[in-house]
Symmetry: C2
Subunit: 463 residues, 2 copies
C-alpha cells in the first residue's frame, strides 16, 4: 500500500534538482504512473535530475527515508518496469539524454541513458559503424530502458540482444554510491561481471547513468526477402528447415494470418495476397557477395518446403515497406480496439513448431483470438491474446490462457520472457520457470545491492 | 593459515564418493596443489565426485564444517584459480567429463565441465556446427575451466569470448542447493542473469556441474594471412589501420620479435625471415566469397602501412603451420628456462600502440626482457616478463614492473586481465582497477552466494 512521503522529503529532493525539475500535479503523476503496459500506480513525486551526482543524492534521500524509487526511461516497456506499484518517487532520466562520445578509434559509444535508440543508430552509422539491437520501439525507446530490460529485436538472431553490446556502465547504487562496472576494453575479467548482471535487472539493482556500448563495422550490404506460405505450419517448418541447413541470416521474422489481417484493417489495404496464411521476412547482411549467396540459400530453402511465393526487395523503398509491415504489427493489433495482452515467450529455436501447436490449442481451449508474430529464428514469439475488454468472462479466460501458455513454454524448455522482462505483469508467474532456491538466491543478490528494498519494489519477484 | 580438517570430515566425504575417489597421499596433494601458474598450496584432501548430487553433498559438508572448497578442472589456468591458498578440499571434476548431448535442432551442446575444449569442438564440427572460443590451451583445458575464467582466444575478435556461448548452467551453491540458471532458449530475461554472473567468477560463487552452450553454423570457408613487419611499431600501426578501415576478420594476432626468436630457439629453425621485427597472423572465415574479399582488404591494408611481406596460407597444412607457431609461443618462452610471468592485459582496441609504448618503457626502466604477443584486434596482449629465477634483484624488478604495467594499463582505460582471471596471482592488484565501493559490492554479491566464504578463498579479493 502507498504511504505518504515522509515529512520534509519533497523539500529535500527539490533542493537537489531545483523546483523546476519536480512534478507533483495530478496530471503529471498520472502520466508518469503508466507506460506502454497501460497499468500502474501514480508516484507521489516525479523528479527529473540532470547529473549522476543529483541521482546519487536522490537515491540517498530515498534510502534513508525508505521511499520507493522507480527509474523511468521512455516508458515503452510492456511489463510495467518503469512505473510504481505503490507510489513513491519516479526518477525520470529524460534530461540525461546526450550522446557523450562516438569513439571511432576504439569502436564504442558512450551515452547517457535517455538517448533514443534510433538516434544513436543514425549517429553511429554516419561514422560507418553499427549498433545492431533493434527493438520494434526503437524510434521512441531509450538505450537506458533497452539496457534495463535487455531489449532484443529482429537482428538479435544474428547479432544478439542488447547485452552483447554493453561494455561498461556507470550506475548509482540505491545506497548512493556511484560505481563503474566493466571496461572500455572489449574483454575484462576483473572481479564479477556486474555489467551483465545489471543488464536486464529492470531497475531493481542500481540506477544506470552512463552506458558504454561496443560498436561493430556497418555491414556494407543487405537484402530482404519475403516468403508467403499457405498456412502457419508451412512457415514454421521453413524456419526449422533453414536452421537445419545452417542458414543464419541477420533476421528471420514470422507473422501469422491474424496479425496480417490486423495490419490490412489498420492500413485499409491488402499487404499480402489473399490466401496468405503466414509470411517470413528474412534479412541478410554483410559483404555483397555473401549476402547474395545467403539470400539465394534462404530462397531455395523456402521454396523447397513449399513457400507459395518468394520475392526479394528490389530497392531501399521496397525493403522499408516490408519492414514497415513488421513494425506496424503492434499498432495494428492495438487499433483493433481489443485489449492486446502481449507475451514474448521464447523456446529453444528448433521448437517453434511445437510452440505454434500450443497456440492453436490455446485458441481452441479458451476460445480466444491470438495473433502471433516475432523472432522465429530465436524461438522468440510475441503471443498476443486479443481480448474484448468489456467482456469479463473473456478476460478471465485470457488470464487462464496466460498461465497455460507459460506452463507449456516452460515444459518446452523455454522461457516466459525473451526480451520484455518481468516487471509486475509477469511477476506472479516466475515460479513456473524458477525454483524456490533460484528465487531465494536472486533475492539475496537483490539485497546485496539494495539492502532496504527501495529500488523498483514489486517488480520481478512475486509479492 | 591452514587448519587441519575437522574430525570425521574425511570419513564423511569418503562415504559420499567411495574410498577409491579420495586422494590424501603426499604426491597427489602436491599435484593437485599446483596448476599452470606453478604456485599454490596443497589441499588436505582431494575428492573426485561423479555426479551433481555427490558435489552437492560435499559442498554441504564443507559448508557445515567451514572447510575451504576449491574446484579444479584441467589445471591450465595462469592465475592459480584451481589451487588452494591454504589447504582444505580440492574437488576435481575429472569424472564429470561427458558430452551429454549435441542438439542439432536447437543448435546447442550440453556438457559436463571436464570435457576438453578441443574434443567438444571436433564433435560439434562433425555436425556442421561450431563452438568458437579457442584458448591456446584448448587441447588440454576443460570447458568448465573456460567458463569459470571466461576464456578467450584468437577467434574472440570476431566471435566473442566464452561468455557469449553459455546459455545455461547447472550449479551447486556452496550451501548445497542445486540451481539451474539461464535457458535453452537463446534469449531469456526472467530474473537476474546469474549465468553471466557465474561465467568468469573463478569458482568463488558456485560449483558448475553442467553447461549448455550455444553453437553456430560452421563457417564454410577460411583463409589465413601472415604479414611481416620490420618492427613492432609498424605492426601495431597496421592493427589500428585495419580497425579504422572497419576490417574485422575472425582473428588478428600480433607476435613481437622476442617471442619469435623464442619459437626459433625452441624449434631449432627459423620460423620467419631474419630481420622480421613483428608479425600479424590474420584469419578470415565465412562464405568463400566474403573470405576472399576480406583477406584482400587485409592484405591491401597491411601493404599500405608498410608490411615487408604478405602471404596467404596456400592450404590446410600451411595454415596449421602458421597457427602452430602462434600456439607454441607459451611453450617456447617457457623453454628458455627463464621464469615467464604472463599478464594478459587489455586496452581499448585502438590503444594497442600506446600499450606497446608502455612495454618499451618498462623494458628500459626495469632492465627486463619482455616478450609480447596476443589478440591485438581485441587490445588483449600477453605481456610476458622473462625473468632469471635465480636472480633476486631481477625478480624484484619484475615485481615493480608488474605493478607499473597494471597502473599504466588502467590509465589507458584498459583492464588488468582480459581472459586469465585474477585468481590469487593478481588479487593484490584489483584495487588499481576497482574502487573500494566496487570491491565492497562484489564482496556482498559473493556473500549472497557463499555466506560462509568456503568457496575458493583467497581468490579475486586482496587478503
Amino acid at each position: 500500500m502507498a504511504r505518504p512521503l515522509p515529512e520534509g522529503f519533497a523539500a529535500a529532493v527539490r533542493e537537489v534538482v531545483g523546483p523546476e525539475h519536480i512534478r507533483a500535479d495530478v496530471a503529471s503523476l498520472e502520466a508518469y504512473g503508466q507506460d506502454a503496459l497501460e497499468q500502474g500506480h501514480p508516484p507521489d513525486l516525479v523528479v527529473i535530475p540532470a547529473t549522476t551526482r543529483e541521482v546519487a543524492a536522490i537515491a540517498r534521500l530515498c534510502n534513508e527515508r525508505l521511499v520507493p524509487l522507480v527509474v523511468r526511461g521512455a516508458g515503452t516497456g510492456y511489463t510495467g518496469g518503469a512505473v510504481p506499484t505503490r507510489g513513491g518517487v519516479v526518477v525520470s532520466m529524460e534530461r540525461l539524454n546526450r550522446i557523450i562520445e562516438i569513439d571511432e578509434t576504439n569502436l564504442l559509444a558512450i551515452v547517457e541513458p535517455n538517448v533514443v535508440t534510433a538516434d544513436l543508430q543514425r549517429a553511429v552509422e554516419k561514422a560507418g559503424l553499427f549498433y545492431p539491437p533493434d527493438p520494434a520501439s526503437l524510434d521512441t525507446s531509450s538505450i537506458g530502458g533497452n539496457v534495463a530490460e535487455c531489449a532484443g529485436g529482429p537482428r538479435a538472431f544474428k547479432y544478439g540482444t542488447t547485452k552483447r553490446y554493453v561494455l561498461a556502465l556507470e550506475a548509482v547504487l540505491p545506497t548512493g554510491e556511484i560505481v563503474e562496472t566493466g571496461s572500455k576494453a572489449v574483454k575484462s575479467v576483473v572481479g564479477y561481471d556486474l555489467t551483465q548482471l545489471l543488464v536486464g535487472s529492470e531497475g531493481t539493482l542500481a540506477i544506470i547513468t552512463k552506458i558504454t556500448l561496443r560498436l561493430i563495422p556497418k555491414p556494407p550490404a543487405r537484402a530482404t526477402l519475403l516468403a508467403l506460405f499457405g498456412d502457419i505450419q508451412a512457415a514454421v517448418d521453413a524456419v526449422t528447415a533453414l536452421i537445419r541447413r545452417r542458414v543464419v541470416p541477420a533476421s528471420l521474422e514470422l507473422v501469422d494470418a491474424d496479425s496480417l489481417s490486423a495490419v490490412r484493417d489498420h492500413l485499409g489495404r491488402e499487404v499480402v495476397p489473399p490466401g496468405t496464411g503466414a509470411v517470413l521476412i528474412v534479412e541478410a547482411d554483410g559483404m555483397q557477395s555473401a549476402v547474395d549467396d545467403e539470400i539465394d540459400r534462404v530462397a531455395d530453402g523456402c521454396r523447397e518446403v513449399g513457400a507459395m511465393r518468394v520475392s526479394v526487395a528490389a530497392d531501399e523503398n521496397d525493403r522499408d515497406r516490408l519492414w514497415n509491415v513488421r513494425r506496424l504489427l503492434s499498432a495494428s493489433l492495438m487499433a483493433t480496439g481489443l485489449l492486446k495482452i502481449n507475451h514474448d515467450v521464447v523456446v529453444p529455436r528448433g521448437r517453434v513448431p511445437d510452440l505454434f501447436r500450443v497456440i492453436q490449442e490455446l485458441k481452441k481451449t479458451f476460445g480466444l483470438r491470438i495473433a502471433a508474430f516475432g523472432h522465429a529464428g530465436d524461438g522468440n514469439i510475441h503471443v498476443n491474446l486479443m481480448v474484448d475488454r468489456t467482456n469479463p468472462r473473456e478476460l478471465a479466460r485470457a488470464k487462464q490462457a496466460e498461465r497455460a501458455l507459460f506452463e507449456r513454454v516452460v515444459a518446452l524448455e523455454g522461457s516466459i520472457s525473451g526480451e520484455h522482462g518481468i516487471g509486475f505483469a509477469k511477476a506472479p508467474y516466475i515460479g513456473i520457470e524458477l525454483s524456490p532456491e533460484e528465487i531465494a538466491l536472486m533475492k539475496r543478490v537483490k539485497a546485496a545491492f539494495d539492502p532496504n528494498g527501495i529500488l523498483n519494489p514489486g517488480k520481478i519477484f512475486p509479492a
